[in-house]
C-alpha cells in the first residue's frame, strides 16, 4: 500500500477511469508464489496419482519429480509468510474477513445463481472485500494448507517414526486435500478467466486495481469502507 495509494485530489476525467486499489504488492506476490508452488506441486503430485503419468514417477525421473515437489513445498509454505511479513495489515484484515460470516453472506448464497448466470445484481447484497464464495475459498485454502503441510511433513520426515496407520492416513489426507483444492482451483480459474461476467477480477491480481464500477458492483460494502478511508484510489494513465 506504499505506492499509488495517495488520495486523488482532483476527480478523474472519465468516471470509468477511477481505479481502486484491491490487492497490495505483498498480496499479489504471495498469491503468485502460491500459484506457482501449487501448480508444480499438483503436476509432480499427479505423477504418483495417475497411472498414465507413471513414466514420470519411476526411477530417476521419480526422484527428480519428488525433489521438485519438495522444493515447491517450501515455496508453498513460504507464501503465507510472504503475505504476513509484507502486508501484515491486509493479512489480518483478510483473515478476519474470511472468518466473519453475516447475513450478507447468506444473501450471497441465495442470490448466487442468478448473479453468476444472468449477472442479476439486483438481489445481491453488497459484499465486503471478499464475498461469501471467496470466503469459502479462503477457508478451504487455510484448512487444506494445514492438512497439506502436516501430512506432507509426516510423509517427508515421519517414515518409520510414526505408526503405519498415521503414515497411510497422511497419504490419504494429502490426496483428499488435493481433490478439494483442485476442484476449487478449476472453479477459481473458471471465474477469473472463463466466466463471461467476472473477467475484470484477474486484473486485480496482476495490477492490483479494479475499476470503481467493478468494485461497486461486486464489493459494494468494501468500496464504501474504502471511500471513508479515502485511500487506494487513483486515475488510470495519469
Amino acid at each position: 500500500m506504499a505506492t499509488s495509494t495517495s488520495t486523488v485530489t482532483k476527480p478523474c476525467k472519465d468516471r470509468r477511469q477511477v481505479l481502486v486499489m484491491r490487492f497490495t504488492a505483498g498480496e499479489r506476490i504471495a498469491h503468485w508464489v502460491h500459484f506457482i508452488a501449487f501448480t508444480i506441486l499438483l503436476g509432480t503430485g499427479l505423477f504418483l496419482y495417475m497411472p498414465a503419468l507413471r513414466p514420470f514417477a519411476v526411477g530417476e525421473a521419480g526422484e527428480a519429480s519428488r525433489l521438485a515437489h519438495r522444493a515447491a513445498a517450501i515455496l508453498f509454505m513460504a507464501a503465507p509468510l510472504i503475505y504476513l511479513i509484507w502486508s501484515p495489515r491486509d493479512f489480518f484484515y483478510s483473515l478476519r474477513e474470511a472468518l466473519t460470516w453475516g447475513p450478507d453472506d447468506l444473501g450471497w448464497l441465495r442470490a448466487a445463481w442468478g448473479y453468476y448466470t444472468r449477472g442479476d445484481t439486483a438481489r445481491m447484497p453488497p459484499q465486503g472485500k471478499y464475498n461469501a464464495g471467496q470466503k469459502f475459498n479462503a477457508l478451504t485454502q487455510i484448512i487444506t494448507f494445514i492438512l497439506f503441510v502436516v501430512s506432507g511433513m509426516i510423509m517427508w520426515f515421519g517414515k518409520g517414526v510414526v505408526s503405519p496407520a498415521v503414515f497411510v492416513g497422511s497419504v490419504i489426507i494429502h490426496d483428499l486435500s488435493m481433490m478439494a483444492t483442485v476442484a476449487l482451483f478449476i472453479l477459481h480459474i473458471y471465474l477469473v478467466a472463463v466466466h463471461p461476467l467476472m473477467r475484470e477480477s484477474i486484473t486485480a491480481m496482476f495490477e492490483g486495481t479494479v475499476t470503481e464500477e467493478f468494485a461497486r458492483e461486486h464489493h459494494g460494502k468494501w468500496l464504501a469502507e474504502q471511500e471513508q478511508e479515502r485511500v487506494y484510489r487513483r486515475c488510470r494513465d495519469e
Binding site: 521419480g62 520426515f157 490426496d175 483442485v182 478449476i186
Partner: protein, 275 residues
C-alpha cells in the same frame, strides 16, 4: 501355469544360514558390519542388503527347551499391502505367483515399507532431504524363477529344509509332514501361510505356534492401505469431473442469459456478440 511357492520346513532346519549367504552371493549383496548382539542372529534384522536371514528363537514347551529356526524373508502375500500402495508399479504380482520388485522403477517413496504387515521391504535411504531411496526385498530370485531355476536359497539348503515348486503340491507335502510330526510327538506342529492374507507364497511347516517364531498369528493390513488407490483416488476423478461439468453448465446458462439480454436493445452490445 499354477502358482509357484517356497516351503520352509522348520523341523529340518539346522540354522546354518547357508540360505542367507546364498542370497547375498547370487545378488552380489555386500555384508554389513555388525556387532555381537547376544544372539546367533546376524544381522539381527532384515536390511537393504540382507533380504533373507535365519531367525533364532528360544522356546519352552512341556518343560523342554527348544531352539527354533526360521528362514525369513518376504512371504509373497496374495493380498499384498505393498503392491496395493506402490504408486510406481515397481512392486507387482508376478504371473508365477510371487511379488516381484523392479528396482529400476522404484522411486523410493517407501510406502511399501510402512504398510507391510511383516515389515519386510527395507529402504536404502541415500538422502533424507531429497528422499532418494530404493526399496529392497526377497523376490524369490525372480530372475532365476522366471528362467525355470529354483531360488538361490533353496538350491543351497543343505538339510533340504527349503523346497521350491507348485504351491498345491507343496501344501499337500506340508500337511503330510505336519501329520508325521504330530505322530512323532510334535503336538503343536502346523502349517503357516496356507490362508493368511489370501495365502502366502512362502509356506511354513512349524513345530510350535507361529508366535514362538515371531510370526503374527493373524497377519492383517489396514483397510486404509487397501482402499487408498482403489477407493480414495478414484474420488479425485469424480471431483474433477463433477466440477468441470457443473461449470460447463454454468457457462452455457450464462451465455444464454447474456445473449437474450443483448438481443433486447443496446446497439453497441450487438457488436460484441458478433465479435
Amino acid at each position: 501355469m499354477s502358482r509357484l511357492a517356497m516351503l520352509f520346513d522348520a523341523s529340518r532346519c539346522i540354522g546354518c544360514k547357508s540360505c542367507q549367504v546364498a542370497c547375498k552371493q547370487w545378488w552380489g549383496l555386500p555384508a554389513s558390519e555388525t556387532v555381537q548382539a547376544g544372539t546367533y542372529e546376524n544381522p539381527t534384522d532384515l536390511e537393504p542388503n540382507t533380504w533373507a536371514r535365519v531367525t533364532f528363537h528360544e522356546y519352552e514347551a512341556d518343560g523342554q527347551f527348544q531352539w527354533l529356526f526360521l528362514a525369513w524373508g518376504c512371504v509373497h502375500c496374495t493380498q499384498a499391502a505393498c503392491v496395493d500402495v506402490c504408486p510406481t508399479g515397481a512392486l507387482k504380482h508376478h504371473a508365477l505367483g510371487f511379488v516381484s520388485l523392479e528396482r529400476e522403477a522404484c522411486n523410493g517413496c517407501g510406502y511399501c515399507s510402512q504398510v507391510c504387515p511383516f515389515q519386510v521391504p527395507r529402504m536404502e535411504t541415500v538422502n533424507l532431504l531429497t528422499g532418494a531411496a530404493r526399496a529392497s526385498k526377497c523376490t524369490f530370485c525372480q530372475d532365476r524363477a522366471t528362467n525355470g531355476l529354483t531360488p538361490a536359497c533353496v538350491k543351497t539348503c543343505p538339510p533340504g529344509a527349503l523346497e521350491w515348486g507348485e504351491r498345491d503340491a507343496l501344501l499337500e507335502k506340508a500337511h503330510a509332514r505336519v501329520e508325521w510330526l504330530k505322530s512323532r510327538g510334535y503336538a503343536q506342529a502346523q502349517v503357516y501361510g496356507e490362508r493368511e492374507l489370501g495365502g502366502l507364497g512362502r509356506l511354513f511347516v512349524l513345530t510350535a505356534p507361529p508366535e514362538a517364531y515371531g510370526l503374527p498369528a493373524n497377519p492383517q493390513y489396514s483397510t486404509l492401505a487397501a482402499s487408498w488407490q482403489n477407493v480414495v483416488q478414484p474420488l479425485g476423478y469424480v471431483a474433477v469431473a463433477a466440477t468441470t461439468l457443473g461449470l460447463a453448465f454454468n457457462w452455457l446458462a450464462t451465455r444464454r442469459a447474456r445473449l437474450s439480454n443483448l438481443e433486447s436493445v443496446e446497439p453497441e452490445a450487438t457488436e460484441e456478440r458478433e465479435a
